[in-house]
């Protein structure tokens, strides 16, 4: 197998390379997914564009209300970033649980996970729950912004055009103070079978505001159970938890099936996982 290898020094240069041959080009972020596919011959591109020198591996605070994470930021960078500790602990919590140990955390990237759009993965639901914005770039049209909620279009399908690359992900700040992440997987080597991301603010009156509850890895795309607009309709308590669990079960009409777990299994556990994810928020409501 032969391909032309490119090592662009900027996102602009990468976009130019992509514009030349959008269909015959494979972009490599950290390479944890793509390189094994290249090695085993599952992918036979004409061009491979390695983004590792394109300056996309940065985390920066653009302002007090926007956090910028370059597309090639690794899980380990997320873990090591001091400013995330206070501002986006959920993302660090997720990064710490990535299967494969330090080798994968040092190599795998947040942006790579997003554009892989694998149903059974951690990142998509997290981006949706955190209301992230994905920044696409093409040589022809410059940059455009895609909300996470519409970025994931199906299993392995995303909203980028063939000539676009993902340049960055931005997160609105501050994120709600209460959050939880429940992840079910079948052993350390397994991909996620189902995840639940929950964020929100619990008021003195136990009213839940600014809340989001998203189920990941259970369907082709993240399943939004609760949005900020729909929250704050009832006080946070066991009844709401029960209601959300049932909503999640009902909403999971087309659960994802794979070799590790059938859709039937995923449907059977999703309600229980939602209840677990809501526990820390319920506890927050109980705090004086």
């Amino acid at each position: 197998m032969t391909f032309t290898f490119h090592l662009p020094r900027s996102a602009g240069e990468a976009a130019e390379l992509l514009a030349d041959a959008p269909e015959g080009t494979t972009l490599v972020g950290g390479g944890t997914l793509v390189v094994p596919e290249l090695a085993s011959g599952l992918r036979r591109p004409e061009h491979v564009v390695d983004l590792s020198r394109a300056g996309l591996a940065t985390i920066s605070l653009l302002s007090e209300d926007t956090l910028h994470v370059g597309a090639c930021t690794t899980y380990q960078q997320v873990l090591d970033c001091e400013s995330l500790r206070a501002r986006l602990p959920l993302l660090q919590h997720v990064a710490a649980q990535i299967t494969g140990g330090v080798q994968i955390r040092n190599q795998g990237t947040i942006g790579g996970a997003a554009v892989a759009a694998r149903p059974h993965s951690d990142i998509p639901a997290v981006l949706v729950a955190l209301r992230a914005t994905l920044h696409a770039r093409s040589a022809a049209r410059g940059t455009r912004q895609v909300p996470a909620a519409v970025f994931f279009r199906g299993a392995y399908e995303h909203a980028l055009d063939p000539d676009e690359l993902l340049e960055a992900i931005t997160f609105p700040l501050p994120v709600p103070p209460e959050w939880s992440y429940v992840k079910l997987k079948f052993g350390e080597g397994s991909w996620p079978i189902a995840t639940v991301v929950c964020t929100g603010r619990v008021g003195a009156d136990r009213m839940l505001t600014d809340a989001a509850l998203v189920v990941g890895a259970a369907a082709a795309v993240p399943l939004v159970v609760l949005t900020p607009a729909a929250a704050a309709v009832s006080p946070l308590g066991p009844e709401l938890a029960e209601d959300l669990a049932r909503q999640a079960e009902r909403a999971l009409t087309e659960p994802w099936s794979d070799v590790l777990a059938t859709g039937e299994y995923r449907r059977a556990v999703v309600g229980g996982l939602v209840r677990r994810a809501l526990r820390p928020l319920l506890a927050a409501g109980d705090r004086p």
């Binding site: 197998m1 085993s40 011959g41 036979r44 079910l184 079948f186 052993g187 350390e188 080597g189 397994s190 991909w191 079978i193 794979d258 070799v259 590790l260 777990a261 059938t262 299994y265 059977a268 556990v269 229980g272 996982l273 677990r276």
Partner: protein, 800 residues
């Protein structure tokens, strides 16, 4: 420690249980530091690479193989189909011929001419200048198939209406091997017993998944007319024979060399089609040709799967009276590997170390249109342990006694050993009641309170008792029951041991070094162990069946004793004392009165012929001895005259604590303890490493490892993401204790280690999960106990 537990299996860091052990062996340091050289690290000049094109259908007439696209690819050197190889390669001789044991035989060709019998069967090979071109070319090869009925299931294969898969070879059904052990009196015993239980136990197909897949590098030397095969294999001398036979060469024209091996577990016993194919390609091209198995290909070869329909009769005190078991073992397509005989061992290992004398066990090993088996660590014995230990738990529950007590009432006492089992095994020695006592001392009372049991979590402890036949041999086959070693001491008092054993990564060279050093008064680091080269090493059988220390270690000990006798004689001549009073210790030959001489000085004098006794006699160089060892009790025991015979039986008891998540069905292993008796322990770290590895493999087989095919026979579990093996964070630290009842049948009293633990861990884990589920009226219905399978049990119980 969990890291070591995983390492012992997957990274095969020899003696990986402790850093101290690792530091003691230079070869282990190479593994840890990444400097060990495996087959794929060998890059001779002019190297070409072979890739395999594989069948995409489970059973078909092979009409036309289209090579045109592959042949046109630049860099492709050679493409071969079954039509090309039929004349050049004889059928691959079986490792264990089922025909010899009364079973059915089929010719296995490296590439088929007419019929394909599983998805993934090689139909053509390509050799190219580089691995990518070879793989690409192989992917371009297509074939026209005329589909035949597929038989994916063992019981379906036994259906009289099933397609006879080897009818073209004269078979009239799909049974490779059939046997029955009926002691008589079973009917009467069932009628007389207080209770009876009926159960079906189905064990799923698993695979060995070593960290290093198979790999071979064949180099044909046209000038010398010789083939050198570097192979990641377990049995180099037998591979040499197989290659010579298949290619029509003299054995002396073939040299097999085994570099570092990254785990074998049975997969690397020979009989695979790629072995002769890579050799043939090298011979045809006159260039070195390498084939490295891909991870995907490595998952094709299976093992373990079987179904037991069991009935057990027992009395109100929990004492077993009789057993019926009908076993069906589907071993996939017929192959020349020794995998099929695992089924025989499952039957023969029953009823484990229990007193039960009345049983009727029927076994049918059947062929199907799934990929073939090879041996898998445990070699079928694990299935017998699972069956017996599940039964003992069920019996204990039925009569209301403690599971340990149920074992105690049924195990053989030491004064009943040696004991001949109904299948003809003779269990040599052991102290099973004491093992159970030690296990009981480690068992904690059941946890109570909401943290222990709740709406969401069920906790329980499971136990298992295990007896493992070790170091087996089958006469008339290359499952050898003897081993040879040469010990050479040089002029600097350093020693070389040439051994017929091989090291799959577990570290047996350190054990050999220890044994030889002890005989010669040296330190293990003075001893270099050379293995895995058929031009250098004496004829031997490599590694399988926990035989390394028992047989190979004993051969090395005997050879070392020969050299020690020379040293004593030489020292006696120098010190002017009697040879039998000389002690070899701390690199010296010492006599209490006559004094001492450093062995290095003694060796130099001996080689320079300056050793002379008072009467003028000398001790002749070289300091070298070769010995062969065969343990006692290896006569054929079965009716067929070729039965497996085992000199020693290790024993162990296991305890596993689990937490079952009632919401998701997830099983968490919270504690693992083992009391292990492999007789004399030569190196505790090596034994612990074997126990850790075997237990991890057993827990994986019970918890998550499952080979899956789709309805058309296409492998679904073809990566470590879809075939889930346990990793370090999945496991707690292991508590391993040792008991020692030396074997009377082996030179050193050792009984072998490495296979024990697979069956015990499977059984203890499943018993623990079943005990947890029983608290709410549920039971384990399917293995492995994956979250979906456990949840299904919970849901069923909820409905009931």
């Amino acid at each position: 420690m969990p890291v070591a537990a995983t390492a012992a299996r997957r990274l095969v860091v020899a003696g990986g249980s402790t850093t101290a052990a690792a530091a003691r062996a230079p070869s282990d340091l190479a593994l840890i530091t990444g400097t060990a050289r495996f087959v794929d690290d060998l890059q001779p000049t002019d190297l070409a690479t072979m890739a395999v094109a594989r069948s995409t259908v489970a059973h078909a007439r092979l009409k036309e193989v289209d090579l045109s696209a592959a042949q046109c690819l630049p860099g492709v050197l050679l493409v071969l189909t079954g039509q090309d190889t039929y004349a050049a390669l004889r059928p691959i001789p079986p490792f264990i011929d089922p025909g010899l044991l009364g079973g059915a035989r089929a010719d296995v060709h490296a590439l088929p001419r007419r019929t394909v019998r599983y998805v993934g069967q090689p139909i053509a090979v390509v050799v190219a200048e580089d691995p990518h071109t070879a793989a690409h070319a192989a992917s371009l090869i297509t074939a026209e198939y005329e589909l035949l009925p597929a038989v994916m299931d063992g019981r379906a294969a036994l259906d009289p209406a099933a397609s006879v898969l080897y009818a073209d070879q004269g078979w009239t059904d799909n049974v490779i091997y059939r046997t029955r052990t009926d002691t008589g009196g079973v009917e009467e015993a069932f009628a007389a017993a207080d209770h009876c239980l009926t159960r079906t136990f189905a064990i799923p197909r698993a695979t060995t998944a070593p960290l290093e897949p198979r790999g071979y590098l064949a180099s044909w030397d046209a000038v010398a007319g010789r083939l050198t095969l570097h192979a990641s294999c377990q049995n180099p001398h037998q591979l040499r024979w197989m290659i010579a036979t298949t290619l029509g060469l003299a054995e002396s024209a073939v040299r097999v060399v085994v570099p570092h091996v990254g785990g074998a577990f049975g997969l690397k016993m020979h009989g695979h089609p790629e072995e002769p194919l890579v050799c043939l390609c090298s011979r045809l091209l006159g260039r070195p040709v390498k084939w490295i198995e891909s991870r995907r290909e490595c998952f094709l070869i299976g093992g373990r799967e079987q179904v037991h329909d069991v009935e057990v009769a027992f009395d109100g005190d929990g004492v077993l009276r009789a057993l019926r078991d009908r076993i069906v073992v589907p071993v996939g397509a017929v192959s020349s590997t020794p995998g099929w005989a695992m089924g025989k061992l499952s039957a023969n290992t029953l009823p484990s170390g229990y007193r039960l004398r009345t049983m009727d066990v029927q076994l049918e090993v059947v062929t199907t249109t799934t990929p073939p088996w090879n041996a898998s660590r445990g070699y079928g014995k694990e299935a017998a342990i699972l069956v017996m230990e599940r039964l003992l738990d069920l019996v204990a529950r039925r009569v209301g006694i403690d599971p340990i007590e149920a074992r105690r009432r049924n195990v053989l006492r030491s004064d009943e050993l040696p004991h001949r089992t109904p299948s003809g095994f003779i269990i040599d020695s052991g102290d099973y009641p004491r093992l159970l006592d030690q296990l009981e001392a480690r068992r904690r009372p059941p946890a109570t309170g909401t943290a222990a049991q709740s709406d969401e979590v069920l906790r329980a402890t499971g136990i298992a008792f295990e007896v493992t036949p070790e170091a087996g041999g089958i006469r008339g086959t290359f499952v050898g029951d003897y081993e040879t070693a040469t010990v050479r001491m040089d002029a600097t008092a350093r020693v070389q041991v040439l051994s017929g054993l091989t090291n799959p990564g577990g570290g047996n060279p350190l054990g050999l070094a220890r044994i030889v050093a002890a005989e010669l008064g040296l330190a293990p680091e003075d001893v270099l162990v050379v293995q895995g080269d058929t031009d250098l090493c004496p004829y031997g059988f490599g590694n399988f069946s926990g035989r390394g220390t028992i047989i190979g270690g004993s051969a090395a000990a005997l050879a070392a004793r020969g050299v020690a006798a020379q040293l004593r004689e030489a020292a006696a001549a120098v010190l002017r004392c009697a040879a039998d009073t000389v002690v070899l210790h701390e690199r010296q030959a010492t006599h209490p009165e006559a004094g001492a001489i450093a062995l290095a000085d003694l060796c130099l004098r001996l080689y320079t012929r300056t050793v002379e006794a008072a009467d003028g006699t000398t001790v002749e160089p070289p300091l070298e001895a070769t010995s062969t060892y065969r343990p006692g009790q290896t006569r054929p025991l079965d009716d067929d005259g070729h039965g497996h015979s085992y000199p020693a039986f290790s024993s162990a008891a296991y305890l596993v604590e689990v937490a079952v998540d009632r919401i998701t069905g997830t099983v968490t292993v919270e504690r693992v303890a083992a009391v292990h008796d492999c007789g004399t322990v030569i190196d505790e770290a090596l034994v612990d490493g074997q126990v850790h590895g075997a237990v991890t493999m057993g827990l994986g087989a019970a918890l998550s490892e499952q080979v899956r095919f789709d309805a058309a026979g296409v492998l679904l579990s073809d990566s470590f993401k879809s075939y889930v093996v346990l990793r370090a964070p999945d496991l707690p630290s292991f508590e391993v204790a040792h008991q020692c009842t030396p074997s009377p049948n082996t030179l050193l009293g050792a009984k072998g280690a490495g296979e024990a633990g697979v069956g015990g861990a499977i059984a203890a884990l499943v018993n623990a999960v079943d005990a947890a589920l029983a608290q709410i009226g549920a039971t384990v219905t399917r293995l492995p106990v994956t979250p979906p399978n456990v949840l299904a049990s919970l849901v069923d119980a909820g409905r009931a």
